[in-house]
Amino acid sequence: MKQNGDVRIGFYICHCGTNIAGVIDVDRVRDYAASLPGVAVARDYKYMCSDPGQDLLRQDIAEHGLNRIVVASCSPLLHEKTFRGAAEDGGLNPYFVQMVNIREHGSWVHEDGEYMTGKAMDMSRAAILRVQVHEALERKRVPINPAVLVVGGGIAGIHAALTMADAGKHVYLVEREATIGGHMAQFDKTFPTLDCAACILTPKMTAVKAHPNITLWTYSEIDKTEGFIGNYTVTVKRKPRYVREDLCVGCMECIEACVYKSAKIPDAFNMGLSKRKPVYIPFPQAVPPVPVLDPENCLHLKNGTCKDFCVEACGDRDAIDFTQEAEYIDIDVGTIVLATGFDTFDPARIPYYGYGKYPNVYTSLELERLVNASGPTGGDVRLPDGRIPERVAIVHCVGSRDEHYQRWCSRVCCMYSLKLAHLVKEKTGGEVYNFYIDMRAPGKSMEEFYNRVSTEGVHLVRGRVADIAPESLEPPSNGRIGRVVVQAEDTLIGRIRKIPVDMVILSVGMQPQEDAENIRRMFNISCSTGGFFLERHPKLAPVSTFTDGVFLAGTCQGPKDIPDTVAQAGAAASEALALIDRGYYELEPNTAYVLEEQCSGCKSCIQQCPYTAISFDAEKSKASINEALCKGCGTCVASCPSASIRQHLFEDEEIFREIHGLLAYA
């Protein structure tokens, strides 16, 4: 073992208020550390991450000639940067710092203070042994390509794209549907202000289309992502829409002319409550205003037997192109904002709510379309039999806060349920019953909105709905749709209530997109419990991910309402802008390197590298590592059978010392 005679270690143990000191006897750990060879200074401090805490490091480096720092505090994932920075300010190479995680892996999870104090000593000893053989390392800088990719064209993606485009950066906005707008475009009014969603969204959509710095690709998906922060190469698949965007003027005459005289295909934008033709535009204000041809239903594309009236209608604009094929385009970007949004819970998973079984049981998103003036009923709330319902039940928390389905609260349902109650009441004049578990109204103007709706004559029943069943087993003879009875225990009066209604609205919660897993893998990020994308830190880095240069905006990270989504999109944009404007990113110098003289050229390492950073230098008959491609996983290091590949920051000797330190009896 290498002995470092001139090592002078500063050891610091943080109280973290009482977070650490409440469990671990920091004085004993400090005194123990002071007794270990190489330790020149050992201190404890209330909050090491505070400015005075960091100053302590800087002062001691100067006064005591420290050349190594060990900080026993929280997770290195949280504050390693902080203490490396402090050491660097003090004139020390930042890689002479080692952290000991005695909070997340210590005082927060273990209650036995005596044992934990001993374990903290073990862990500190490991770090003290390890840091002795640390080496000074240089951070490599990589330039940041100023172009940005935004994935998803809902309100989050739109806002992030506009923010960055306004700052002069080139933005690629990729949306898989034929139009941008996302879920917000389907909504009627927005709580708590009741302003119309389209009125506030469509100007932003057209601004995207018009912006010189935005390349908008709708009907497109991400196929592949390669590279790393500052230097991503993303392959975008542009699906064929069979209408050329560059030639179409958005006159919609092709839709009019289509051989399908009437619309026969369920319209996804209207939640299947209306029909469309094989050539269609999702909704009138779609951006871009270019129709799409649905190859499964278009007669020409299906069997080539159509009279092609659409081509005729298009005339010399010649925008219809049946020969279009999927196109794959590679773009180079430096940063990526993921704004892939959410999906709604499928209430058919809860059989006793009768969704899909009773025609008068709707989801809240279907209701959004029904109450919308541009929706299938022109804004009338009507049952399938054409009647205006007299009694309507709105069931909160469908699939949410439920161990069997989704444990989380989707945050928006209480408020949109009240909004729908208000709108239904306004449009039908009927009785509206809202069944809720708890009424959650945090945030600006939300409680006021709740108060307002509750004085409008809406019945608020506190109870989880246990059953929805037909009022009568016999269907009504007059062709009407029969009432259903909503049953719940009203927990405020302690009685079971059975309320017959004409219509039920299921307030479904938010869940991750069905293919969020693919996106997650493609961008190499993590998911939290439930499948929403995981932020780097829940409080301090809420829009960053563990993959540098990839940021999160909107509901792909977790349920949130429109104001929060927009705020987060702005935050993601500004994080990306901060990187772009600095122009470079410093890489962790944890790369692998070959001991050239010792390498036997056995080639065992070459295929270990997923980034093809290792090649065989045929002239020298040695392995050679391209440092720029190495990402520092260390797999080749572990695989080298003669230990002739090493890794900065994770040297064998450093890890062996850590193991010995952890296990040597105190």
Binding site: Q598, S600, C602, K603, Q607, F616, T635, S639, P641, S644
Partner: protein
């Protein structure tokens, strides 16, 4: 007193091959004999222990000890030779790493004795007689050395200056070591007197090894026709070459047999078997548990393959299922 440096040779738990390897020097041995004064070499010349005991401490320039240490007699002798020698050279795989006798560390002393004296198919010993440490014969007492619980490397019982690896060491390495000794040109104490690069560097088949290797089936050398030109690993034969120090000039590979690791690991490796395991596993095929275990099961005896010469020198040193201290399940 002769001015020629004094040299000793001794053997412990070994097969005798190391002793013979000295003869492999061929006519070169005459130069050696002329240059040095052999003061102790029980296999070839008649010396008594008392002769050694009478020598001043440190007066033997170098003693070459081969074989692992298993008995109290070996222990006594190597301690004595240590005391009398300026330098001790662990000669051959057994002294360096435990060698083939070291594989006995898979078993307890009791298991070994019982098998050898009672259970071996060729033994008839109904009375279950075992050798005793002491026995009275005609009024005198005969004493046998004790049989240790562990096979040990030489440096696990005495400090060792140099290591000459190999099973046995090659004449070229021995000649070079003697030359260096005579010239006072030996490297720093603790060194292995062989290159510190793995065998592949000098392997005539290196160029035939592909960069991509996904071994989906391992073969034992006797069970497959081995192409005499191609890298053995590329043919699915476990070759320890990548994890083994070079210097032997790939004699086994040149004989169309895989390297079995007798030169031990490079100085940067603490456990040869573990390192080879790491590389073999990483270069074999399979992503699902069943597929992976299917491939790896074609290595019938991982321990004997990976630690053929190095079990006592390995990190765990021996099997831990010994009954005297066992809380382990027998596996």
């Amino acid at each position: 007193m002769s001015e020629k440096p004094k040299i000793g040779m001794y053997w412990c738990a070994s097969c005798g091959g190391c002793e013979e390897s000295v003869v492999d020097l061929a006519e070169g041995i005459l130069d050696v004999v002329a240059a040095v004064d052999i003061v102790f070499w029980p296999v070839a010349m008649d010396f008594k222990r008392a002769d050694i005991e009478a020598m001043p401490d440190g007066s033997i320039a170098a003693t070459f000890i081969n074989g692992a240490v298993r008995t109290s007699e070996q222990l006594e002798m190597v301690r004595l030779l240590r005391q009398k020698s300026a330098a001790v050279i662990a000669y051959g795989s057994c002294a360096q790493m435990g060698g083939i006798p070291g594989l006995a560390n898979q078993k307890d002393r009791e298991d070994i004795l019982r098998y050898v004296y009672e259970e071996s198919p060729t033994v008839e010993n109904a009375a279950q007689i075992r050798p005793q440490r002491t026995h009275g014969v005609n009024g005198a007492t005969a004493t046998l050395p004790s049989f240790h619980g562990n096979v040990r490397t030489l440096d696990q019982v005495i400090p060792v200056e140099y290591y000459l690896p190999g099973c046995p060491p090659t004449p070229r390495l021995l000649a070079a070591a003697v030359q260096a000794l005579l010239e006072g040109a030996l490297p720093a104490a603790g060194s292995v007197l062989a290159p510190d690069t793995a065998l592949c560097e000098e392997c005539p088949r290196r160029d035939s090894k592909p960069e991509e290797l996904h071994i989906d089936q391992f073969h034992r050398p006797h069970a497959v026709h081995i192409d005499a030109e191609r890298c053995l690993l590329a043919q699915g034969v476990v070759c320890m070459g990548p994890a083994t120090r070079g210097g032997c000039e790939a004699v086994c590979v040149q004989g169309n047999m895989p390297c079995t690791g007798c030169f031990g690991p490079t100085s940067r490796v603490k456990d040869q078997g573990a390192k080879m395991l790491s590389s073999l596993a990483a270069n074999s095929a399979g992503e699902e548990d069943a597929a992976i275990t299917g491939v790896l099961e074609s290595i019938p005896d991982p321990l004997g393959t990976l630690y053929r010469y190095g079990l006592p020198a390995s990190m765990l040193h021996r099997s831990l299922s010994d009954t005297n201290r066992s809380k382990e399940q027998s596996t």
